[in-house]
Amino acid sequence: MSAQPVNILLIEDDDVDAEGVERAFRKNKIANPLFHARDGIEALEMLRGENGHEKLIPPYLFLVDINMPRMNGIEFLREVRADKDLRRTVAFVLTTSKRQEDKMSAYDFNIAGYLLKSKAGNDFMKMIGMLDQYWKIVEFPNE
């Protein structure tokens, strides 16, 4: 059990999808701070405190979409896993892509789980609910 609430960094370019996650958090009464980056580059800036962004403080975990401009989810994961400070971060992929290649690539970067966005409505709620349980129970490496 972590002392501090885990920061959730949502890396998603679609604003409706982002709002979906926010609403789901609200519905599930999740109080964890939710940060939103529009793509991989902005996410890295936020993680490193660059370009006017305040540095995000651990513990945090990523909810990464795959299809994004400038730097997509897989590229972001590659960057992160190469960065010695960010390497151990827990990451979930939250995407519409059902493609085998995407799944394989993501797991190659040791994600904790691959979640499909297409499950709308209640299923999405349950998914978020699962995440909520996850970070409540699991021990995080950045402590």
Binding site: D14, V16, D17, E19, G20, T96, K117, S118, A120
Partner: protein, 665 residues
């Protein structure tokens, strides 16, 4: 094109038209042979009457003046004898010449064998004649010498005939080999034998008596040739059957005069120059004449055949649609048919004598330009392997693709190359066009599939957003909305759902048939179980698989998809609470014929075609949850594997979908 025709054998069964037995000739000879008997019976004597005077009364060296007082009859009979004998000899030699001339053209070995028979017989008869003219003498009695040499000549003739016939039969297969040496050997042997016999005769002081005027068998030694002639009959008949032509027929026919004349001699001729004697000599002329006629007829026949064959060949060559070209061993064009002329644009005169490189430049581009007389540097051996594509050059310089098949032929020591040439420029361009079309088609197909995939995939994203937003609106505004607006929101959401379904179906359709997995073969029963497992079969419904399915082995995908769609369709459209869906299979040669039938509401014949089109449903979209793509999908998959699908149904009586599926994908 003389080098093209095959050498025809004189006694050759290789000829297409073996002449039929010359019956007219046969009857004529019979008539000629038996007429003397009849005439003799009627009293005609074939001799010139005179008091019998022995030849001994005229010793050699008699004064010429004295010969004037010789009885005319003796002189005449004697002269008659000489005339008849020399006629035989001359005809024999002429037959021999004719035989050898035929051999020179046709290289048929059996011919000279026959020819030599005539030669040697002619020799013996000549000898006999010389003896009878007393130009050759021995110490033996002259009349005995004459009759003995006659018998000897006759016996020699029939023996050589028999040997000749046996050789022809034995070596039938070897007829066409170059046999100058064999012929030479035979000549030598025969000559030696003849010489030996003649020497013996001349040297022997005592010859046996040959004439017995009072006996029934007047000249018993002539029985030998008579019997031998009879023995020869079946042999010659066999020869004719084995090699049916005018020559062998004439040999058979010649037995008649021979046998008849021997009969005259054996039973009739009690003295020299008597009637039977003269008749026999006359018949002997006929007996040489017959084979001579036979040889002549055969020559005429084979020449005619050759003319016909050449005309046929000429016809084939000129009317051929393929170019026919023949080349000498050093690459010069010898023959060039009209089709080749059309292909290359030359007339035969323009191109005969030129090197083949004029028309097929690549031939021997690497060959040395060396003209060594007698040496074959034109090694067309490369090109004599079967069909080969090369580049031809027309008169106007245009290059074009051609197909050429060359073969090498060796005739009389010289090599000729015969080629069949086909202009394949049209086929080539067709092939290219075809290949291009296929490539275009493939690209087009790929594009289409990519398009369908991207479209359905990328369209889903905003759709999901619409779905979510409408949901949130409903959640957030719920109480503030009146019923109508809430209803509108519901309709909005349901349309979104429908669009999603349509997109999914479109996506599935675009991917249909891509998952053909020929290797994953399952048993029909296994397939059935999987299908049922994947379906959501409501209570009250049964899926019945016929036992025939258990006996088939078939690749699982995408057949499973087809069944899945058809069966879930049947379930979806059923109008009652319970029902049965039957699945059956039938062997249809290279295909299986599957059928899926239900006891649902059936489909009117009017719609049988429409239901297979995309996005077609028969009931209102609100009533049945379906995109209308199910059957279109099925049809696409079935057609992609090479099968066909149809429906048999009438309204109210259920529906049966029947489709064929190849046994091997």
């Amino acid at each position: 094109m003389t080098s093209g025709s095959k050498a025809f054998g004189l006694l050759g069964a290789s000829m297409a038209n073996a002449p039929s037995f010359p019956y007219a000739f046969f009857y004529a000879i019979i008539f000629a042979c038996f007429t003397p008997f009849l005439l003799m019976g009627m009293g005609i004597e074939f001799t010139i009457k005179s008091p019998v005077i022995g030849l001994d009364d005229f010793p050699i060296g008699t004064d010429a003046a004295q010969s004037n007082i010789l009885p005319r009859s003796v002189l005449t009979n004697h002269t008659l004898h000489v005339l008849l004998e020399w006629s035989s000899v001359i005809i024999a030699f002429m037959a021999m010449i004719l035989a050898f001339s035929h051999y020179a053209i046709n290289r048929d070995l059996t011919v000279p064998v026959i020819g030599l028979m005539f030669f040697s017989c002619g020799l013996m008869d000549g000898f006999h004649t010389l003896v009878s003219m007393r130009l050759l003498t021995s110490s033996a009695d002259v009349s005995d010498l004459i009759t003995f040499t006659w018998t000897l000549a006759r016996t020699f003739y029939v023996i050589v005939l028999i040997i000749g016939a046996m050789l022809c039969l034995r070596f039938k297969k070897l007829r066409h080999i170059s046999g100058r040496r064999l012929v030479g050997l035979y000549v030598i042997v025969l000559s030696l034998v003849a010489y030996a016999l003649l020497s013996y005769i001349l040297k022997t002081p005592e010859l046996p008596q040959t004439q017995f005027p009072d006996a029934f068998i007047v000249r018993p030694y002539d029985l030998i040739p008579l019997i031998l002639f009879v023995v020869a009959a079946p042999l010659l008949a066999l020869l004719y059957r084995a090699i049916p032509n005018y020559v062998t027929a004439s040999l058979l026919i010649t037995l008649i005069p021979n046998i008849v004349l021997e009969t005259h001699m054996v039973f009739g001729s009690s003295a020299l120059f008597d009637g039977h004697f003269n008749v026999a000599h006359g018949l002997k002329v006929i007996s040489y004449f017959v084979p001579f006629i036979g040889l002549t007829l055969e020559s005429i026949h084979s020449s005619r055949e050759r003319v016909i064959a050449e005309a046929k060949l000429e016809n084939v060559i000129t009317s051929a649609t393929y170019g026919l070209v023949s080349l000498s061993s050093n690459g010069q064009i010898i023959d060039f048919n009209s089709a080749a002329g059309r292909i290359f644009g030359y007339s035969a005169d323009e191109v005969v004598g030129l090197n083949v490189r004029t028309i097929i430049p690549e031939l021997y581009q690497d060959a040395p330009e060396v003209h060594l007389k007698g040496r074959d540097y034109f090694t067309l051996d490369k090109i004599t392997q079967n069909l080969r594509e090369a580049e031809g050059q027309r008169k106007d310089g245009e290059r074009f693709p051609l197909e050429a098949a060359f073969s090498v032929m060796e005739l009389q020591g010289r090599k000729t190359y015969s080629g069949i040439i086909r202009d394949i420029s049209r086929q080539k361009s067709n092939q290219e066009r075809f290949d291009r079309l296929i490539t275009d088609l493939k690209l087009s197909n790929d594009d289409l599939e990519k398009f369908a995939y991207i479209a359905s995939h990328d369209l889903k994203s905003p759709l999901r957003a619409i779905d979510n937003l409408s949901l949130w609106l409903a959640e957030d505004l719920g109480d503030r909305l009146d019923d109508k607006s809430r209803g509108h929101l519901e309709q909005l959401r349901s349309r979104v759902k429908r669009m999603e379904r349509l997109l999914n179906s479109l996506l599935e359709f675009s991917r249909a048939g891509q998952n053909i997995d020929a290797k994953n073969v399952v048993n029909g029963r296994e397939l059935a179980e999987e299908i049922v497992g994947l379906l959501n079969v409501p209570d009250g419904f049964d899926i019945v698989f016929s036992p025939a399915l258990e006996e088939i082995e078939i690749p699982k995908m995408p057949l499973e998809q087809v069944f899945h769609n058809l069966i879930s369709n049947a379930l979806k459209h059923h109008d009652q609470e319970s029902g049965v869906i039957r699945v059956d299979v039938r062997d249809s040669g290279e295909f299986y014929e599957f059928s899926v039938s239900d006891d649902g509401p059936g489909i009117d014949a009017l719609y049988h075609k429409r239901i297979f089109e995309m996005f077609q449903t028969l009931r209102r979209r609100d009533e049945v949850e379906g995109s209308g793509m199910g059957l279109a999908l099925v049809k696409k998959i079935v057609q992609r594997v090479g099968g066909r699908i149809r429906i048999e149904s009438t309204e109210g009586n259920g529906a049966t979908f029947i489709f064929t599926w190849p046994k091997k994908l």
